[in-house]
Symmetry: C2
Subunit: 300 residues, 2 copies
């Protein structure tokens, strides 16, 4: 049975499936993005159409590479709109951000007529993290897109995470709703959401997922420290997914495990018609490659 | 010149000073707290008065140990009140929490007449963290006490952190105001505070401290990743102090570096008349010992 617990297993799995996806990239003129694309092309995961100014690229390399093609665009606005159009029309499977402001690409993605977000759909970012001292991948949301999620957005994050973990062969994902302690605190806005979600968990709304919260980082991800607390939880410091109260805490987690725990990361947008690799300037080439791999696995 | 960059250097420094402080502890009947106290006593840092029920302790050990004394109390309420009273009266230098609910001890500490918090004083928690891959201690606030700090509380955190780092020989502490990005976002409550603080920084209000924000974890603590971002900041990924937007993000940082980065930690309350070691159940004996050491260094 399929069970993917690391990024290298993910790449191996995709190579075994051997279905090259068509990647459409807005201005990958920085070395990290271009390097990640080359790596994904050479690993057999994707072919790539690059939208940008030929002057910004090594055209000799691109022209001699069967799986690479450059589509000339005069600026990042045109490149963003065209890339979204290509993915929307079925001329591409995955949209990827290169050297372009997030706002510019997001505007094209979210455009009511020409964009790729169904009306009313929640768009959020799910990251996967491989931390050497943890026994499997950790999925998390949302360190990037939604500053202060509401109930509908939190529920969408959980639904998306369940879909994503299913593709990794996790049939009963353990999902922790994060907070500084395991105690409900009615003074905090997001506690109402947690309470509502836990009520729905009891009603079986989330199927085979094992959801509990609020839990702190120890109870969610640290079996040794969590045990000291003597809190009854089905998570047992062994979560597959952590849903954070908001952007600030999620962003701190994401960047802290990269900085201090040698984490390998990747992430994609959910809620769009097709997977979107929405990287940031400070992402390494490795993290951009991992994000492409996550997008290749896709979502259902 | 004095410069303390790790917990072991802190202990060595305190042993060199050789001024045993009088520790007053509310119900240290759990093994982590008791172990940490014994270690601090044996290292020559403190003598300890333990307030609790004799039945919960190894009285033979206590009776034969010159620097240990048990004061019988019928419950944690009495122990909390008495411990605060002793410290207030000058019969103790440091107050420490053992196996007692935080609320119970805090109530005694904050009591208007009998407590040890001057009227109107901000009480907050400052932690010190030793992360193997970072070249010095990181001080942070506030992972424990204030859920959503206001401007006055944030300013107090900075003032306290400056006082604390001075005791570690840091004359120009680099202090980062944390956020998910380096961009001001007027939609977020705490941004007004950051803006105000940065205005005061320009006016020289914080003396020799080097303060910048908003900055993300990379720009604050990760020189390699921070450099990619091309952001001008005097912090250069080399912060001594990180001030978090709120409790959730701070708590995630604190518990994540313990879980995934082998961090050694310690922390004390600031704003009280005397240092208070306010540990939690899941703190290790090492972290409780470090907290005692921090309290011995004290604050001015």
């Amino acid at each position: 049975m399929l069970r993917i617990t690391s990024f290298s297993e993910l790449t191996q799995h995709l190579q075994k499936i051997s279905a090259r996806k068509r990647l459409v990239v807005v201005n990958p003129s920085d070395s990290h993005t271009f390097g990640a694309i080359l790596q994904a092309v050479d690993a057999g995961l994707v072919s790539a159409q690059l939208l940008g100014d030929p002057d910004d690229f090594d055209m000799q390399l691109i022209n001699t590479h069967e799986q690479l093609q450059l589509i000339e665009c005069k600026d990042v606005y045109e490149a963003s709109e065209r890339a979204v159009e290509m993915v929307k029309n079925g001329d591409g499977d995955i949209l990827m951000k290169g050297l372009v402001n997030t706002d510019v690409l997001l505007k094209a993605i979210l455009n009511k007529e020409k964009g790729i977000v169904p009306y009313g759909q929640v768009v959020t970012f799910i990251a996967a993290m491989e931390i050497p001292s943890y026994n499997k991948l950790i999925f998390m949301s949302d360190p990037a897109v939604i500053p202060a999620p509401n109930l509908r957005q939190r529920t969408a994050m959980i639904d998306y995470a369940i879909a994503m973990t299913r593709n990794f062969g996790i049939t009963h994902p353990k999902i922790a709703l994060l907070h500084g302690t395991e105690k409900m605190n009615p003074k905090l806005n997001f506690m109402d959401d947690y309470k509502q979600i836990m009520d729905e968990v009891k009603q079986g709304k989330f199927g085979d997922a094992i959801i509990d919260g609020p839990l702190d980082i120890f109870l969610a991800l640290n079996p040794a420290f969590g045990a000291v607390k003597n809190v009854e939880s089905p998570i047992h410091g062994d979560a597959d997914v952590v849903i954070f109260p908001g952007f600030e805490a999620a962003n701190v987690f994401y960047k802290t495990v990269i900085t201090f725990a040698n984490a390998r990361v990747g992430g994609i947008l959910f809620g769009t018609d097709k997977p979107v690799v929405m990287t940031s300037r400070s992402d390494s080439a490795d993290s951009k490659f991992n994000s492409i791999a996550l997008a290749c696995l896709g979502f259902d």
